[in-house]
Amino acid sequence: MALNPDFVGRTYPPAPAYLVGREKIREFARALGSTDPIHLDLVAARDRGYPDLVAPPTYAIRLSMAAAENVVMDPELGLDYTKVVHGDQRFEYSRPIVAGDELVCTVTIDAIRSAAGNDMLTTRADIATVDGEHVVTSYSVLVARGTDGGDA
């Protein structure tokens, strides 16, 4: 089923602010097997000029995917979530996320297109502090694989 093209440019109201926790950063870094003390050791992070533990670069996906869930679950958009795979991902950074950041994530639908029977949805999640400082933008392409003999 084709996605509703009227949704391009739509921005969804942000979720409540996300407080980045030290232990969440440690947990995420350990799950990636990272040994860089900047993610694990507060003294090491401060020695390198950061106010607190530094999140690994892909940590932003925690916020952007959670926020994008509201979008992909929107029944009016017409995305069949059971067929969705993550196609592309890109982050553009102003600075690394650090523990103690209070972040607000605003999701916009950047593009909708269909190709080879698949629907492709590009979402942009702008992640900023509650004071409005931009931290990172996360672009995700979600692909809903078409069914055999589908109507795409």
């Binding site: 969440k24 947990e27 995420f28 350990r30 799950a31 990636l32 097997g33 990272s34 860089d36 900047i38 390198r48 530094v54 690994p56 670069p57 892909t58 996906i61 925690r62 995917m65 959670a66 795979v85 993550h86 196609g87 592309d88 991902q89 890109r90 982050f91 553009e92 950074y93 600075r95 690394p96 672009y139």
Partner: protein
Amino acid sequence: MDIVEGMELPAKTFTITRADLVRYAGASGDFNVIHWNERIAKDVGLPDVIAHGMLTMGLAIQVVTDWLEDPSRLLSYGCRFTRPVVVPDDADGAQLTVSGTVGGVADGVATITLRAVCQDVTVLSKATATIKVA
């Protein structure tokens, strides 16, 4: 360190086991069943349980950040998830090898191209990071 075009970054090989997938699911909040349930993974046409694309992406960038020793120099990072990393239910798991090359340097920004390979198959394409040169 002068960063110049053609420079090779030290490659890394990562082992990904089923236990790593469970740990990443918990840490990331991504509990999609295809990353831990073999029955459902096969039901949807996959050969077996597959790794989270974001786990592969998160491992691959360590080739850049461990080399730079300063994550604040990372300006952008993106990739396409081309092929799944299939993780068998055994002690060896899957082996992911990541290497990187400086593709170009212009206006104080270097572009690094990453190659991520599992069982001779490229699993990420267009994997590119841009970094501040100094």
